[in-house]
Symmetry: C2
Amino acid sequence: MSKRPLILVTNDDGITAPGLRKLIQVMNEIGDVVVVAPDSPQSAMGHAITINSILNCTPIKIDEGPQTEYACSGTPADCVKLGVHEILKQKPDLCVSGINHGSNSSINVIYSGTMSAAVEAGIEGIPAIGFSLLDYQWKANFDAVADYVKQISLSALSNGIPEGVILNVNFPKLPKKEIKGIKICRQAKAYWIEKFDKRVNPLGKEYYWLTGEFINEDRGEDTDEWALKNGYISIVPVHYDLTAHHAIQQLNTWDF
Amino acid sequence: MSKRPLILVTNDDGITAPGLRKLIQVMNEIGDVVVVAPDSPQSAMGHAITINSILNCTPIKIDEGPQTEYACSGTPADCVKLGVHEILKQKPDLCVSGINHGSNSSINVIYSGTMSAAVEAGIEGIPAIGFSLLDYQWKANFDAVADYVKQISLSALSNGIPEGVILNVNFPKLPKKEIKGIKICRQAKAYWIEKFDKRVNPLGKEYYWLTGEFINEDRGEDTDEWALKNGYISIVPVHYDLTAHHAIQQLNTWDF
């Protein structure tokens, strides 16, 4: 690529999140950066889009750097749509989302606003990567993974991500020197067992908080969960053809 | 199945939507019905779940019938989690979602609250089906498809849906006698070209409405779009393993 690549940056933790600020810093080293990120936290928004309400999108300056930034009132997927069609008015060379505060491995990819932003870009034919660090804290240490974020992004730009594929990158919560390397993985077959914390509000009405426990019974050593537990960075190639092709033949035997 | 099946019913258009009311009627003929549906429209919510706020879930009676009903303040996926873990406190024999007012074929499955509710049930190991009618109107004619909804649900109960698979059923907007039958399909490779309608609010600030045009360049005759255009009901088996398995080998050639 002769000219500097144009890079669209977004996330789901909101435009002030330290994970996003680190991602912007790294991308500034690689290309020309435009940020369109939610003006408030949008975790677990999945692939929600805003169709029954309006969207605001306002230029903003959060910290120093050559990037251009916009805060958007919508979901992560909205940010990508607005970013591409209204702000850039062209497809960027790369869209990166994150760095998420917390894991988007295994089944979490389904609920993830971070990954939905990346998938939205993928649907639009833009090479896209979602980055997540297995540390939910606002003060998580993103320095340890900055070099890997750069390396993976440069590899994606030079190799080209396969068509219809988006990269789901998760980093273990480890000091840099303890990270063993990168593994290409499949999504582990893990799930959440939900529990609801039932409480009573000041007016005497019951309400619920969703909580849960993450269960991984997948013993495969080719999964993202295995890689992360064993000190590796996991990269799962994700696609948006949800067809369970293997089931088509079986369903054709049904007598409707 | 010797006893009447226990059926969890939900949707994304909200608990008063005519499509849901029809689905409840049909399910009452098949089994014991518990409804946990959003208390307001939740279209295009994708697989969003509520983790940063509380959930309300209130018993309600919308119309006549033996069903038990609850209105929930959350997303469609929240409704399923609450329905299974707090209301039923057991896995139902079937979870049905819909009947959606509007298409969830092709790439729309990604944005669909209707399908995310069904997928959430699938993740929990519950046989699940999402139903959608290609008519966005509130007064859409769901009578034309009621018999098919029953037939497909009974087939699913008797055959058993393959593990890890959820059925995405879309009905063409046709009189019953013009519907040619049922096709098992793959998700068409179609997409939306977004357009944003830029307006100015009463205070002089710009805002946006998302609009767009649906483009199908997939010429395959095994797709849901083809089936629906040609007068068939489409059933796409959907799964939640988003891994693009075919891309793993290629990514392993990258030199990180």
